[in-house]
């Protein structure tokens, strides 16, 4: 059973393993690699992520599940850490140090800082035209960030209120708004659906979202997404909504928060 931890409590060796896993996946150009997984969310077409509907949480749980397996194929003990953007540390420092540093302690590039974005030329030109600042001017382009002030991140009291939502639909809708807020807070690539999935911090942001869904599930046993959605497929993943509901079946759990 893999245990997802807060990004703030990872030991140095765990951070290094995570970076090595990202680096290894980024080195693959086929469907095991970073470009494939990042591109499932937005570009290259088709844009497959689900937002603004009842599939938002199940689709992204499936998305992280398959990406985490891809990481574990390279470094077996790795899990995706969550970034608690409500924490006092986040409200003081903004992005977590694991992802904010451009270089590692030994001077090598930090693969959690940014990523290449390999797109068909026509799509890349449209991104540059319509979303200036979403990517760097490099060839090939890389992700970039332009974060807001740390204290503009969502607050714990907002999340506590959302965790009291009585139904899945209400919970999902309100949590998605906070999710959107963090995307635009990071800025750059993260602020636009077509390229957000390429930023390495995307995964830890969504691990936080997935963890909050898990916490809501614990507090509301038996509360499910609407019955008519349970057997919907979550394309392109070979999973239905129902198959995302129990994370123990998916082989992971969330550590108790210690900071």
């Amino acid at each position: 059973m893999g245990v997802r931890k807060s990004v703030y409590v990872l030991a140095a060796a765990e951070v290094e393993a995570l970076r090595e896993a990202f680096l290894a996946v980024m080195g693959l150009r086929d469907e095991r690699g970073y470009q494939y997984h990042a591109g499932l969310h937005g570009l290259p077409l088709p844009i497959q992520c689900r937002h603004g509907d009842i599939l938002f949480l199940p689709w992204h749980r499936a998305y992280l599940y398959f990406f985490e397996l891809a990481l574990q194929d390279r470094v077996p003990e790795v899990t995706i850490p969550w970034w608690d953007w409500t924490s006092a540390t986040a409200h003081q420092d903004g992005l977590p140090p694991t992802h904010a540093a451009q270089a590692r302690e030994d001077g090598r590039a930090n693969p959690l800082f940014d990523s290449e974005v390999l797109l068909p030329q026509a799509e890349l030109e449209l991104v540059r035209e319509r979303l200036p600042g979403a990517l760097t001017d490099d060839d090939p382009p890389r992700t970039r960030r332009d974060p807001d002030l740390p204290d503009e991140l969502p607050r714990d009291r907002t999340i506590r209120s959302i965790l009291r939502a009585p139904t899945f639909s209400d919970f999902s809708s309100r949590l998605e708004n906070v999710h959107n807020d963090v995307h635009v807070w990071v800025g750059g690539s993260m602020s636009a659906v077509p390229v957000a999935g390429f930023d390495p911090v995307f995964w830890s942001h969504h691990a936080m979202i997935d963890r909050l869904w898990y916490l809501w599930q614990l507090a509301h046993p038996g509360s499910l997404p609407p019955a008519q959605t349970l057997d919907l497929a979550l394309a392109p993943f070979p999973m239905t909504v129902r198959q995302t509901l129990d994370i123990s079946v998916l082989g992971y759990e969330y550590a108790v928060q210690t900071s």
Partner: protein, 178 residues
């Protein structure tokens, strides 16, 4: 519902003011544990943006502090698709309801429903202002990838309308405002 088309322009381009009337006249009408402003038909096809909501402050704009004293009640954020990346017609929504045998998921650009929980702000108005809730001012602000390009927008926020919904639930404190 207050249709978007019926709203007036505020003191800055893009700002919309909805005239509403919410002044419960009975104790039952003022008993709610939660109040939401629900926005229907919200477009998310372009650049990301947020909409700030002010109550009883028709002169609010993007420079208005997001503080309770200014009538600020909350905001919602739209995570935008950044325009269309397909060929002609790729981003056009189906004009007809799909057949029951059509198992494709809804078009990704189907307009969304957004809500802003305004419980505390509404309670304060009902407690302090005799005429109750009269105006809802909507201030759209773009969320471009570059922070220095963000600001007021009169083009991104398109929606069908809004309505105020109040609830009595078991999980929140009951308001006694009337």
């Amino acid at each position: 519902m207050v249709p978007a088309a019926s709203m007036t322009t505020g003191t800055a381009p893009g700002v919309l003011v909805a005239d509403v009337s919410f002044r419960p006249t009975s104790p039952e009408g003022g008993r709610f544990t939660r109040a939401d402003l629900v926005f229907s038909g919200v477009d998310h096809s372009e650049t990301s943006y947020e909409v700030r909501v002010f109550l009883n402050n028709p002169t609010a704009d993007a420079s208005t502090p997001r503080m309770a004293e200014q009538g600020y009640a909350g905001r919602f954020v739209v995570f935008g698709h950044g325009g269309c990346f397909g060929d002609e017609g790729h981003c056009e929504l189906p004009s007809e309801p799909r057949a029951r045998t059509d198992l494709r998921l809804a078009h990704p650009l189907t307009p969304q429903t957004k809500l802003v929980t305004v419980t505390d702000a509404l309670r304060q108005i009902l407690a302090e202002q005799e005429e109750g809730l009269r105006q809802v001012t909507l201030v759209p602000v773009s969320k471009d990838p570059n922070r220095d390009q963000r600001g007021p927008t009169d083009s991104l926020f398109r929606f069908d309308g809004l309505e105020l919904q109040t609830y009595l639930t078991e999980t929140e404190e009951v308001s006694t405002s009337t």
